[in-house]
């Protein structure tokens, strides 16, 4: 029996973002940058470069506004 490793991905609720950039400052993979788009609240939200992202979860931990979640997909 082999244990199938589940894939982890980052999901974003961009309308929660207030554009503080704590995630961008903290991301060890430098995978986060500011979008030129604004969200419903009028803030420039954050974009993740999924090629660089390691799904380490730092963004989840530092975000004051519950934008990011790390979830497993089959």
């Amino acid at each position: 029996m082999t244990k199938k490793k589940k894939k982890r991905i980052v999901t974003q609720s961009n309308n929660r973002c207030k554009g503080c950039r704590f995630c961008e400052i903290s991301c060890p993979a430098e995978a986060i940058s500011v979008s030129s788009e604004v969200n419903a609240k009028g803030y420039n939200y954050m974009e993740i470069d999924h090629k660089k992202c390691t799904t380490c979860g730092v963004c989840y931990t530092v975000c004051p506004d519950y934008v990011f979640e790390i979830i497993e997909v089959a």
């Binding site: 503080c20 704590f22 979860g57 931990t61 530092v62 004051p64 979640e69 790390i70 497993e72």
Partner: protein
Amino acid sequence: MTEKRIPKTLVEDNKFCPGCGHGIINRVLAEVLEEMELVDMAIGSVAVGCACLMIDTFGTDWVQAAHGRAAAVACGIKRVRPENFVFTYQGDGDSLAIGFSETMYAAVRNENITAFIVNNGIFGMTGGQMAPTSLPGQRTTTSPAGKDPSLAGQPLNIINQMRQLPIAYLARGSVGSFKEIIKLKKYIKAAVTNQIEGKGYGLVEILSPCPTNWKMTMRGALDHMGDNVKNFFPTGEFIKEGVHTDA
């Protein structure tokens, strides 16, 4: 490492300013209460200041006290409902200026409650006035030339004030970086555990950024915390399970 899901206890988006540390602290506290299965039995006591914005968004029972009096209210609740988990959640102006007496005496009596004091060195809700925790030279709307310690005193260090008291748990954490947030969660868990085990009063002071009233960018605020705030307010655990440490 498995999934990281936003705790269900955070029932709505928070109402804090961009970059405010309260949002992070709310989430960490919600995680701890969920992991320890305490959400259903938790009663929080807030008073006045930005902290009280959370009573609409953080899904536990709440009582909102008069400015500064959250600790006295929490004592009243815990004494009649000892089966509940009772905590205070206050800013530094609320708990350490107007509420200093109530905060201290809850500790003097080693009340079996848990106190969270969010120290951002300023009165946030009223628009950035000087707090007892403001640093020397800090410019605020009531110290426009910078806080003068000969007039306003040195920053109030609640950990030093409480170190001699026979309380169960005392720590100062920070949300100034990822690593510090991870440590903070351990401190919060330890403080909560002390109440559940009936050991008594636990306090976690939490250094937190207020980019809005510090008039700084997030990076500037985090740098300020690392370069200046921590010199006055060192982090660590100072009393664990009633035993004083040399942190």
